[in-house]
Symmetry: C2
Subunit: 289 residues, 2 copies
């Protein structure tokens, strides 16, 4: 079942990868990218991330079957508001934001009775950004969280499932609130930790000397600290309460290890590390299933 | 220049990989592994990590040209003490410990005027353990830190350089103290962070639900929390002062981010994350050189 027209608003790593996957696998007749800079038009086409690219949001949206919003909601909301009549009521509209509660609230208001809106979060990505890092392999075996609410039209849920499925993702559903709680744990806190870790490791240190001895441990624990700072500052603020409460828990756990270390209490220390290893290994086992 | 007899005492991931690399590349006539359990003899030979394996340390050491100590110093020190006469004064003795100050002090006392001792730390490894994880690719392009002191015989330095070089490592020299300071930053603190992060992320959470949504961010930031707990409890205690001071710095950095987040001060938040990203990217650039 081939799509007729998919519009990707603000394609970066995720949007670009959606476009590339659709194009490589011939999943849609038209794939239109909406960009903000003239120079991005060529970039998108060269990257093979769309069949056409334009700065004209109105033009792009006309006749769209699926619209994927990849820009920050703060950027898109005003524009979308003024062009409501261009989208068909049967058009599936979704976003790819890393937080869902506030985004879904805003977008639901805009699209209620005007289009089939549902929030999505394809859990895929790297620390890189932009269309140049996009790839048609990004979603291979990835999970997409759909966040329906009481206001979500059933047709939006069904359409979103099949849209992400043809891109190679497996969808699971949960409320926007539950999504933000879980993502704070498995993604947002690890990002905060990685950013803080790089700062602590490099504070007052000879970076060249450190770099000489850097092994996989430092590189892996801090990989996501190379993620775009503006994007993550937004995510942190948007999911503030959950992240603050987890950061407190994180400091508590660091202090348990620190306290055992101060006392040179090897038994407690080993027990703390062992419990951590066991829990991680359990997650790895789960993923292998 | 082929070696005649290399003895690897307590081969695990590192010692096993030394043996495998020597064997695969035919770099030594004899590669003798000294193990503690009878069952390990077969395991070592099957893994291709030695030409022979034995529980008899005395037998193994006779005629050794190079001895690599891979067991914890606390285990080996007593034994070595009683067999000092079996090692030739021209024998290169080194260890592969992840901390150097206390180990080098102990081993220098034992081997002074009895063998050519120098501390080594080949910076390579994974979160896995044991000979079964050993590979002849582990040291490819890796760095080995040699930690000579005022007591180190010049011949030990020269011999250690050429030993690690034939295994594929590039040696750099620094004092044991400097080694421990730098490694606390780029390895020990990241391990502490990873162990604490797994604990915080999984505390009171539904692990199966978390696992469903786990992406590369969590997996990478916590990979080294799957490292052997007993090994790392030892390293933490051995490098206690450095690690405690860095853990304090780490908590300070977490709190800078937390404070900016509490105030929803996006500018400061973005600046903190951006500085972190820039420093990490600088290290990555350095490694590409």
């Amino acid at each position: 079942m081939k799509l007729k027209k998919v519009v990707i608003v603000g394609p970066g790593l995720i949007g670009g990868s959606i476009g590339k996957t659709l194009l490589t696998n011939k999943l849609s007749e038209k794939i239109v990218a909406v960009v903000r800079r003239e120079s991005a038009v060529d970039e998108i086409i060269k990257a093979g991330a769309a069949t056409s690219a334009t700065l004209d949001l109105e033009l792009a949206l006309t006749g769209a079957e699926v619209v994927v919003l990849c820009t920050p909601v703060s950027v898109i909301a005003d524009k979308i508001d003024s062009i409501e009549n261009l989208i068909s009521k049967e058009c599936l509209v979704t976003d790819v934001g890393s937080t869902k509660k506030s985004i879904v609230q805003k977008l639901e208001k805009i699209f209620e009775n005007k289009a089939l809106f549902i929030g999505s979060h394809p859990i895929a990505g790297t620390e890189k950004r932009g269309v140049s890092a996009a790839t048609d392999r990004l979603f291979h075996n990835a999970v997409c969280v759909l966040t329906p609410t009481g206001k979500t039209p059933p047709a939006a849920i069904a359409r979103a499932h099949s849209f992400w499925k043809i891109l190679g993702l497996k969808c699971i559903e949960m409320s926007p609130e539950k999504h933000d709680k879980i993502l704070a744990r498995i993604s947002h806190l690890p990002h905060l930790a990685a950013y803080a870790l790089v700062r602590a490791v490099t504070a007052g240190a000879d970076i060249d000397m450190n770099a000489k001895l850097v092994g996989g441990g430092f590189l892996d624990t801090t990989r996501i600290a190379s993620s775009p700072a503006n994007l993550w500052a937004d995510i942190f603020v948007d999911n503030k309460e959950e992240i603050l409460s987890l950061a407190k828990e994180f400091i508590r756990e660091i202090n348990s290890i620190v306290d055992a270390l101060k006392r040179e209490d090897k038994n407690t220390l080993q027990k703390l590390l062992e419990e951590s290893k066991t829990k991680r290994d359990k997650i790895i086992e789960y993923l292998k299933k």
